[in-house]
Symmetry: C3
Subunit: 284 residues, 3 copies
């Protein structure tokens, strides 16, 4: 990816500024994590795994309401097949794709405005650092409300970041979190006033892009060695998730939510934390 011929993808817009690459999710209508977005993410992660002029990547969203809302629940086999292109059929999961993301030699930075829920939050958790708009960010892991534990690293990473008590509150409650509470719990590095967020992220990204690349890569690897989920943990979580999505109560509960506006720019999707508690008991 030389600076002057930056390729574009269907769902991720790329822009370079010196050693910093800005990758903006732009998959209307909702930035759902579906086959196209996963395909483009596989490509981008692959490119950043090799030689690149970039030292830091900032991930953000073109949609002010949605960073990455969650996976496309109508296309689980399709996006899983795309994820498998990164690691082979034995690693056919978003979780393992995110493991590759977390091990890139470049520094990955999440800049969060709008909603990051489910595998959208798990994407952020696999980035190195996460800064969020105090006014405009919303985080959630709604999976248990659907009927399955999160399958792409949230259990493993949130527990390490915030301890068991808060991780259980987040994961079992399946509720929405403000940026302020997410900061207090350690889900994100910091909640920043929206007007200052871009400056905070740009300053950090350009600093690290200017530091010696070998020191950055060695340090990142060393931190990861102290505390991060193993591939085996992530693979096991993916197996449980994929099994429960096929067999358990996920089907009827998802169907109820889809009937009530899920995956459209609706109140259900905007206030998913509320919606999770409104699913009829006959769907449980």
């Amino acid at each position: 990816m030389p600076d002057d011929v930056l390729p574009q993808t269907e769902t991720i817009r790329l822009r370079a500024d010196g050693g910093v690459l800005y990758a903006t999710f732009d998959a209307p209508p909702l930035n759902l994590i579906g086959p196209e977005l996963v395909r483009d993410l596989v490509w981008l992660i692959g490119r950043l795994s090799g030689p690149t002029p970039y030292r830091a990547v900032v991930f953000d969203s073109a949609d002010p309401d949605f960073f990455l809302p969650h996976v496309d629940l109508t296309k689980v086999p399709e996006y899983t097949a795309e994820a498998a292109r990164a690691g082979g059929p034995g690693d056919a999961s978003l979780g393992m794709l995110y493991q590759r993301l977390s091990r890139l030699p470049v520094v990955t930075i999440g800049r969060l405005r709008g909603r990051a829920r489910g595998a959208g939050s798990e994407f952020l958790l696999a980035c190195d650092v996460r800064f969020a708009s105090r006014e405009k960010a919303v985080l959630g892991q709604p999976e248990v409300g659907f009927g399955a534990p999160p399958g792409a690293g949230a259990v493993e990473r949130l527990t390490r970041l915030m301890g068991t008590g808060r991780a259980l509150e987040v994961l079992l409650g399946a509720d929405d979190f403000t940026a302020d509470l997410a900061e207090r719990y350690g889900w994100i590095n910091r909640a920043v006033p929206d007007g200052e967020l871009d400056a905070v992220v740009d300053r950090f990204a350009h600093r690290v892009a200017g530091f010696p690349a070998d020191a950055v890569a060695v340090t990142k690897t060393a931190v990861t060695r102290v505390s991060s989920p193993s591939d085996d943990e992530i693979r096991a979580a993916a197996v449980v998730f994929q099994h429960l999505v096929r067999e358990g109560s996920v089907g009827p509960r998802t169907a109820w939510l889809l009937d009530n506006g899920l995956q459209t720019r609706s109140g259900t999707e905007l206030e998913l934390g509320e919606a999770m508690a409104a699913i009829g008991p006959d769907q449980s």
Copy 2:
């Protein structure tokens, strides 16, 4: 425990609301953790280990000043014998009883008003989540001031929740903590204004009670697997505690405190953090 014939115990009052069981400690005069309360806790944990209509349990206290102040220091052998009924003589400790609590398939929620110190704090730490009244909650691990490390999981759980520096401050300082500071340190999930505490707890309890039970149980087990003390760690802590209580300086220091109002509704018990620093040096 069918909903319509809810049994009662001598020291724990039970009330059901849908899938949520409210368990209220009510062991006058002080809610000391003595043989009767441990006996009732063993029974309740046993019942919740099997089939039950409840999906979430809220633990609180009938005494506005004391949640669980600490163990009855005049009846250590007696309550330990009761605890042994849960796990057998090899697991004769509150710590191992709390391990069983932490592994219940139902969600356990601490609602804290008043003082939770020593094994009272360790009870909360073995619950899944902990919410506390900002104005009325007090937490403490005074054991080191008595002359022994905590023996029922505080070392193991606090270190994982808040890191070594803050855990050492809590454990070596043997001081009282406000809810606000306890939240900043990660001891509790959140300090909530007293007027909002019930609503926060009820909302959370009823949410999780409405979610698919298998997803809740699988997720809880997965979180525990990432970060929680092993049975061997807990057994070792109990052995050290029980040895130091019998042999060390615990005797004279406890005697001094008992002479000065410990285990009565006194200033010593209300402000135990202060009292720990007032014990005469000839008792150390």
Copy 3:
């Protein structure tokens, strides 16, 4: 070190108050961690490893601007040789000296005013607890900006204290942190208003000094066992650091900083976080 004939060292002033020893770094002009200060630290840690009337040690600085700014970069072989006197040539590193500090049977307390960066921050991290002046404390790990990962425990301890996301921000960003942000991240126990800092530290130090010494020592060991870096981790970090300092881009970047006021009471040293981003790209 009997109370009445307290020896003094060239760079660390000692004062006793009951069971509390106050150790004040006083190595003008800047409190750089050089051969003399390391020599005195080796001596002090050795003395505190054996029988001593002291139960708690408070470390602070005579210089209002600098607690410990960082190592003397012009004397790395010399101070390393001094550190080797503590553990033998196989453990010739500040990191291993700090491991000994972290295992002292007495309680170690950092009272931070001024700047603690690099191995100065790592010294604090090896203390049991850390309290900092809200107005006057500054923390930083600038090593990656020099071109090497920290080599004396920062990677291993910060990751355990604050989780990967925040540790990566601190370590890769090489920026200065206020006491408030350091508290939010768990780097220090607490940011305390400057006018209250001495009282908070004195209260804590005298409390723990009055508690039974065996309970304190056993508890400290137990906490350390739950979460602290192994000697092997620390040794490996020292090897990487020493290698990169000799071979990598550390040389030219350090030279640029030394030409611009590093190791003098200059703007570069006072605002090192800013200076790290100003190093010319031809030095990277």
